[in-house]
């Protein structure tokens, strides 16, 4: 019987980032179906976030080398855009929409998005460090 290969630290972070990304997409999908599907422009953006999060998660699960770094960077980019958009809607109007109420899903989404940025950034840093130390690189 072959012993189970131990996951590297960066792989553990990669899988954590995948889980968090799926949560981010899940919250956006729930908000789209439950509340925001009738809001012009915003509904499309929420749906796009959910789809993008799912696709990026799949891509991140399928690769672990240099490509994974680029994919993680795209996850960070998408999530930062979502966080900045939320910050704008808290204080003013974005695409005819503002978020005056600090609803539980909004708070949860913001926390998950912060975690995505932190974990994905940590993964990118660690993976770059690992690759730079790998033989033949």
């Amino acid at each position: 019987m072959t012993p189970t290969a131990k996951l590297s630290r960066s792989d553990r972070l990669r899988f954590l980032a995948i889980g968090l990304l799926l949560l981010e997409g899940g919250v956006h999908l729930q908000q789209y179906t439950g509340l925001l599907h009738s809001v012009p422009t915003i509904n499309t953006l929420f749906l796009l976030n959910a789809i993008s999060a799912a696709l990026i998660s799949l891509a991140l699960a399928a690769t672990r080398d240099q490509a994974a770094i680029l994919i993680a960077l795209s996850a960070i980019g998408m999530t930062v855009i979502a966080l900045v958009s939320l910050a704008i809607t808290r204080t003013s109007v974005l695409f005819n929409y503002s978020e005056p109420t600090l609803r539980a899903p909004v708070v949860f989404a913001a926390l998950v998005e912060l975690c995505v940025v932190l974990v994905a950034s940590w993964f990118v840093t660690l993976r770059i460090h690992e690759l730079s130390k790998a033989p033949g690189v």
């Binding site: 553990r12 899988f15 954590l16 889980g19 968090l20 949560l23 899940g26 919250v27 729930q30 439950g34 509340l35 925001l36 009738s38 809001v39 012009p40 109007v93 005819n96 929409y97 503002s98 978020e99 005056p100 109420t101 609803r103 539980a104 899903p105 708070v107 949860f108 998950v112």
Partner: protein, 124 residues
């Protein structure tokens, strides 16, 4: 295993938070009138649901009160388009605010937080 545990914990938290966010008390809390004086006791209701005023257009007699009830989990307002005739201010979920109009005319209004939401009150 630690990663799996963390993901499961976050997922469980999501379920709890979302379930809690969709529930709430069904008590209505009328607020002081945001409109004009002269109510004659008549009232029509406009529900705010799924980012829309329902019905979007109401026709009332002078002195009739219009009660706006917010069914959405996010705040809305009913603000006259000219910005001066009436403004309910923020209406929270399950809260009702009233406006009383006495002068005949057509009053367009919108939500200050979500300007794509529009309605009309016709007083005649």
């Amino acid at each position: 295993m630690l990663v799996v545990a963390v993901v499961i914990a976050i997922g469980a938290t999501l379920v709890i938070v979302l379930a809690g966010g969709s529930s709430g008390t069904a008590t209505s809390s009328p607020a002081p009138s945001a409109g004009l004086a002269g109510s004659k006791g008549k009232m029509v209701t406009v529900d705010i649901s799924m980012f829309a005023y329902q019905p979007a257009t109401v026709t009332i007699a002078p002195g009739t009160t219009v009660a706006f009830t917010n069914m959405d989990s996010t705040e809305h307002t009913a603000t006259s388009n000219n910005g001066t005739t009436f403004d309910t201010g923020a209406i929270q979920q399950h809260q009702t605010k009233i406006v009383t109009l006495t002068k005949p005319g057509t009053y367009g209004y919108h939500c200050a937080f979500h300007p794509f939401m529009t309605g009309t009150i016709i007083v005649k």
